[in-house]
């Protein structure tokens, strides 16, 4: 059979028609796949919200948990303390290491560093938790403490910040670098005055991802942070945390307590914290990004 060729488009053959049809199917399929990703997320949030909200009250946020229920004050403060410690540590180490890899290291050392970062990102959280248990709980004789939990969590977060910092410093336009050095800037001055403002919004996004993942982690903390029914009073006291409460109360509810509701409320709070954090980070990053408009051509 000879294909009829359209005199205007010159393209009307069976093969061409198949391509047009395929294009059409794919353009229907993509939104469906998008929904397939979105639906479980929305369903999850709905489910958690429906379980958590009916009994969520101010009292939940301001009282401490008891054996069978109570409030979330101690784990909320614990989670905030832990994430503050681990973000400060992982942020410092990750940014400095990324700066070193992108700007100072020889190509061989840099690729070694990147490999190390990827490997660390691939280590299961529970293994990092175990490492923290041996290194920070047993070896130091600290016992389980807030600071041991924070440090262990920071080891888990470092690769995410390190990777974005490395990429962010590495993608500063070459002409900015040349211009700074052409002005007689030293490397330190270049990094501080030129590279940092350009890299910062991206690094901030990396920090946010690390924080979001860190907020949701349980495994690095199980053997390191301990447990506490009241808010931690210092770096050396044990602490509770929201994910720990979920794990503890969801897995073994009594039939007379309110553990299940409390676990859902803790989960709901975690989601709220992550969303709020995202909004704040994006607002800050956008302010910095606006100054960079027109730079990446």
């Amino acid at each position: 059979m000879t294909a009829t060729v359209d005199p205007v488009w010159g393209t009307d053959s069976p093969r061409w028609r198949r391509r047009v049809a395929a294009d059409r199917y794919v353009s229907y399929l993509l939104p469906l796949l998008f929904l397939a990703v979105l639906y479980p997320l929305l369903d999850l949030i709905y489910w958690i919200g429906a379980e958590a909200l009916p009994t969520l009250s101010w009292r939940t946020l301001t009282t401490n948990p008891s054996g069978f229920g109570g409030g979330l004050l101690a784990p909320i403060t614990g989670t905030l303390y832990l994430i503050a410690i681990s973000t400060a540590l992982a942020g410092t180490v990750g940014i400095v290491a990324g700066m070193y890899t992108a700007e100072f290291a020889s190509p061989r050392v840099a690729s070694l560093g990147r490999l190390g970062g990827n490997l660390l990102a691939g280590v299961p959280a529970i293994v990092i938790g175990y490492f923290g248990y041996f290194a920070l709980v047993l070896y130091t004789h600290w016992g389980m403490t807030l600071v041991a939990g924070g440090i262990t969590l920071s080891i888990f977060m470092i690769p995410y910040i390190y990777r974005t910092a490395d990429l962010a410093f590495g993608s500063v336009p070459a002409d900015q670098r040349e211009a700074a050095f052409g002005m007689g800037a030293s490397r330190g001055q270049y990094l501080r005055r030129v590279a940092w403002p350009i890299a910062f919004p991206r690094i901030l996004t990396g920090i946010f991802i690390a924080m979001a993942i860190g907020l949701g982690e349980t495994a690095p903390l199980l053997f390191t942070a301990g447990w506490n029914f009241v808010p931690a009073t210092g770096l050396s006291s044990q602490t509770s945390y929201l994910t720990g409460l979920i794990w503890l109360y969801y897995s073994a509810p009594t039939d007379f307590g309110t553990e299940l509701a409390l676990a859902f409320q803790a989960a709901f709070l975690l989601i709220v914290i992550v969303i709020a954090l995202n909004v704040i980070v994006q607002l800050i990053a956008e302010r910095y990004r606006r100054r960079l408009r027109g730079l990446f051509r």
């Binding site: 002409d175 900015q176 670098r177 040349e178 211009a179 700074a180 050095f181 052409g182 002005m183 007689g184 800037a185 030293s186 001055q189 005055r193 030129v194 403002p197 350009i198 100054r291 960079l292 408009r293 027109g294 730079l295």
Partner: protein, 258 residues
């Protein structure tokens, strides 16, 4: 050859047997030339002749490309700029550079010009005076004086390039190297920069790399012609353009290749 009328004043910058290698390829072949003080020196030649490499060797910018190897010497007022005790940072303060594409920093106009001064931690009112003078010298002040806090990236390409020149001038260099600094600009912006360079040359020695032969003829006092990494000819611009001594030079400036 013309008679040596007066003793040549000492050059501000000179190269002796300067070669630059990329692996085994020789980008620059034993170039010896002298850049006269407070004049405009044009470096012309076909693409790939090494003119950019030449001026990048003049303030140690070549060292930012680790694959390049340098032989020979470059002297600034008689001092070897590659001597081990000399810091590239210091060299680049004395010998500034402006690039083909404007490279403003994502900051305000004011902060851009103040960049080099801040590196020296100067007093704020001294910084402010120098920012204004430098913008004037670069012929940009009248266009931007209303709002020096505007983001520099909001300026037009030609304005951005003059801002880069102002930024380079702010640290008061003796030599200004311009690497095809007007190549990405329209004719009017180019003309403004050429006018400004002519006014500047009483104060600063300028080396102008350009692939625009007419620009070299219009603006420079001395012209060097480079071909395949070799310095073919160097002399007063009027002489070089009217009566080139070398066949290659003649062929290039009359447009037979390039």
């Amino acid at each position: 050859m013309s008679e040596p009328a007066a003793p040549e004043p000492a050059p501000v910058l000179s190269t002796e047997g300067l070669s630059v290698f990329a692996g085994s390829r020789e980008i620059l072949r034993r170039v010896s030339l002298a850049v006269p003080e407070k004049k405009i020196t044009a470096v012309i030649g076909p693409s790939g002749c090494g003119k950019t490499t030449l001026i990048r060797a003049m303030n140690r910018m070549v060292e930012l490309s680790p694959e390049l190897r340098i032989e020979g010497t470059v002297r600034y007022r008689g001092r070897d700029i590659y001597a081990p005790e000399v810091s590239p940072v210091v060299v680049r303060r004395r010998i500034g550079m402006v690039f083909q594409r404007p490279t403003v920093f994502p900051q305000s106009i004011y902060e851009n010009v103040a960049f080099g001064l801040r590196l020296d931690r100067e007093e704020e009112d001294a910084v402010e005076r120098t920012v204004v003078t430098s913008l004037r010298r670069a012929g940009l002040y009248e266009e931007v004086k209303e709002d020096l806090d505007r983001p520099a990236l909001s300026l037009s390409g030609g304005q951005q390039q003059r801002l880069c020149i102002a930024r380079a001038l702010a640290v008061n260099p003796s030599v200004l190297l311009l690497d095809e600094a007007t190549a990405s600009l329209d004719p009017i912006a180019t003309q403004k920069i050429e006018e400004m360079l002519r006014e500047l040359k009483g104060e600063v020695s300028i080396v102008l790399v350009t692939h625009n032969i007419a620009q070299a003829a219009r603006t420079s006092d001395v012209t060097a012609y480079l071909h395949q990494g070799r310095l073919i000819e160097m002399g007063a611009t009027s002489e070089l353009f009217e009566a080139p001594r070398e066949k290659l030079t003649e062929a290039y400036i009359t447009g037979r290749f390039g």
